[in-house]
C-alpha cells in the first residue's frame, strides 16, 4: 500500500534543510514507496530555500508558508500552518527530525490532527497494511515496538538512525499555504534572543553521534582539556560524570546519567569514569562504548565494548594525536 507522507522541513543555522529533516526525507522515500508519495512542508523566511533543498533530494511538492513572523513565534503558529497543509495534502503519516524543534512539534501536531504520536523512533516498517515503529525506552535499557491503530501518525525520528537520501534533483512544485488566523494567546510569547551554547564548538550533547565524557579520574579541572581535545579531534560532544559537575569543573549541562542527560551516540568514550549505575543508565544505549580507566575492576568495563586499562594522562593525548593523524587533521 502506498502511503502519503508529509515531511516537515526544519531550517538549520545556515537556512538550509537540517540533517535531521533530510534523514526524515530518506525515511519517507523508503516507507512511501517513492518520491511521488512524499511531500514537504516549509515555513518562515527561509521557506523557499528549504523547498529547493527538498527538490534536490527528489521531493517536488512542497507546501510553503512564507511568513517571517513564524521565525521567532511559538511553535503553535507553525503547527496551525501545517494543519492547513495536512488538510490539502491528506498524508497518512507526518515525519519530522527528532530535534528539540521536532519533538515539541510532534505533540502539538498530533493533538491538533487527532493522530498517534511518538518520538525517538529508530525504525518504521509496514506490517499487514499497518504501521509499526521501534524506539528505545528506559534510557535505552529496552526497545519498544508500537503499532498505529486508525492510520494517522506523527513520528519524530531519532537523529542518525535513518540514512540521508541520495541527490535526485526534480523541478520544485510549491503550494503556498496562508498562515491561518491564530488565537492571540498562541502568539503572545516573544523570543528575546538566542545565545550560542557554551559547550564549546562541538555538537550538542543530545544529538552528537560521538560523545567523549570525562570523570573524576582527571583529578582536577585544569586537566579536563584532555577530554575536550580528544572530543574535538573526533568531532564529538563533551560530556561529564556527576563527580565532575558536582565539583564545578564543568556546568551541569555536561552531565550524563540519571540526573543529567541520556545520550545514545554511535560511539561513547568514558575517560576516568568508574561506571556507577546512575551514570550507566544515561549512556548504555550508545552503540559502541569505549572505557579508559586505570582500574581493571572498574564497573565501566562490564558495559564497555572496548577497554583500555591504563593511565588516562598517557593514553588520551596519544589517542588524540592518532585520531588527528588518521583523519588528516594538523
Amino acid at each position: 500500500m502506498s502511503r502519503r507522507i508529509l515531511v516537515i522541513g526544519e531550517p538549520s543555522a545556515g537556512g538550509h534543510l537540517s540533517g535531521a529533516s533530510l534523514e526524515a526525507v530518506g525515511a519517507a522515500l523508503r516507507l512511501g514507496g517513492g518520491a511521488a508519495s512524499v511531500a514537504g512542508f516549509a515555513a518562515g523566511s527561509t521557506a523557499a530555500a528549504l523547498a529547493a533543498d527538498f527538490a534536490r533530494v527528489g521531493v517536488a511538492e512542497v507546501y510553503l508558508t512564507e511568513e517571517p513572523r513564524l521565525d521567532s513565534a511559538p511553535l503553535a503558529g507553525f503547527v496551525r500552518a501545517v494543519a492547513t497543509a495536512i488538510a490539502e495534502s491528506k498524508p497518512d503519516v507526518v515525519l519530522v527530525g527528532g530535534t528539540t524543534f521536532g519533538r515539541d512539534f510532534t505533540g502539538r501536531c498530533a493533538a491538533l490532527w487527532n493522530a498517534a504520536a511518538a518520538t525517538g523512533v529508530t525504525e518504521v516498517t509496514e506490517s499487514d497494511g499497518g504501521l509499526r515503529f521501534r524506539r528505545p525506552v528506559f534510557g535505552g535499557r529496552a526497545t519498544e515496538t508500537r503499532e498505529v491503530e486508525g492510520g494517522r501518525a506523527v513520528l519524530a525520528l531519532r537523529p542518525h538512525a535513518f540514512p540521508l537520501p541520495a541527490e535526485a534533483p526534480v523541478a520544485s512544485k510549491p503550494h503556498p499555504i496562508p498562515l491561518p488566523e491564530l488565537p492571540p494567546v498562541l502568539l503572545a510569547p516573544h523570543r528575546a534572543g538566542v545565545e550560542a551554547v557554551t559547550t564549546g564548538s562541538g555538537p550538542a550533547l543530545g544529538d552528537a553521534s560521538i560523545v567523549v565524557s570525562g570523570g573524576r579520574g582527571l583529578r582536577a579541572p585544569e586537566h579536563f582539556h584532555l577530554v575536550e581535545e580528544l572530543a574535538a579531534s573526533l568531532g564529538a560532544a563533551v560530556g561529564a560524570s556527576r563527580a565532575v559537575t558536582d565539583a564545578g569543573w564543568r556546568p551541569t549541562s555536561f552531565q550524563v546519567g540519571q540526573t543529567g542527560r541520556a545520550v545514545s551516540p554511535q560511539l561513547y568514550v568514558a575517560v576516568g569514569i568508574s561506571g556507577a549505575i546512575q551514570h550507566i543508565v544515561g549512556m548504555i544505549s550508545s552503540r559502541v562504548i569505549v572505557a579508559i580507566n586505570s582500574d581493571a575492576s572498574a564497573p565501566i568495563f562490564k558495559v564497555a565494548d572496548y577497554g583500555l586499562v591504563g593511565d588516562l594522562f598517557q593514553i588520551v593525548p596519544a589517542l588524540t594525536s592518532e585520531v588527528k593523524r588518521v583523519r588528516g587533521i594538523a
Partner: protein
Amino acid sequence: MEIVVCVKPVPEAETRLRVATDGTALDPEAVKFVLTGYDESAVEQALLLKESVPGSKVHAISYGPAPRTEEVLRAAIALGCDQATWIDSGAAPATDPVDVARALAAAIRPVPHDLVLLGKQAGDDEEGVVAAALGELLEVPDFGFVVDLRWDAAGSRFKFRRASEAGLESWEAPTPLVVGLQQAWNDPRTAKLPAILKSRKAPIAKVTAAARSAEAARSRSVKFELPAPRTGAKLIEFKTPQEAAEKLVKVLREEAKVFP
C-alpha cells in the same frame, strides 16, 4: 499564581526490567514506582516559583492506576505541593502520550492554571510529547526543553530560556503557559520525614478518566525487547600509549565502524 504540575509514576532507574510473558509490556510487578528525573525538577521549579510569588498554590496532577499514582502524588505533597488530583486510569492506563495529554487536559481545564509544568520527558517512555500535546489541547502556548524559568512581577510575564539546536533561546511570555522542563539546573529538594508522615493522611481528589476519543488514531505497544546483556569489554593489550591509541583507532574504524 496558580501552578499545576503533572507528575508520572515511573519505575526507579535502578530497577531491573523484566518483560511480561506475552511480551507486550514490562512486568509491572517487577518494578517500584517513584517520582523521578525531569518530574522532580518540575516539582522543584513549581515550589521555587511558589516561594518567589506570594499567594501562589501548587496543584499536582497525575494520571494512572492504583496504587502507584497516589503514591507519587503523596511524594509531591511531602515535597510541598498544596493540592493533588489523581486521574484514575483504571487497570489499563493509556500508553499513547496524546491520550495521556487528553486525560490531563480534561482535569486541568476546570481548575485555575496560570502555569502548567511538566517534565521534558518521562523516565520510562521518554516521549516528550505530553507537554506539547497538552498545550494544544488547552489552547495555550507550550515550550519544551526549558532550562530555567522565573516570574517577572513588574512585567507580569515569565522569562525563561529553552535549549535548542541553535543554542539557548530567551523567551518572555504572559500567563497562561505550558512548560516542559529539562533538568540539570538545580538539585531538587528531598522531603523531610515529618512531611512524609503528614502526606500519608493528606486528601487526594480522585477523578475518573473520561472515555478515550473515538475518532483519534493512537498507537499501542506490541512488543518489548531487552538488549542482549553486554558481555564485558574486549580489553586491548598494549605496551606503550601509542600502541594503545593505534590499536583502539584501528578496531573503531575497521571492526566497530564508528568513524571513517
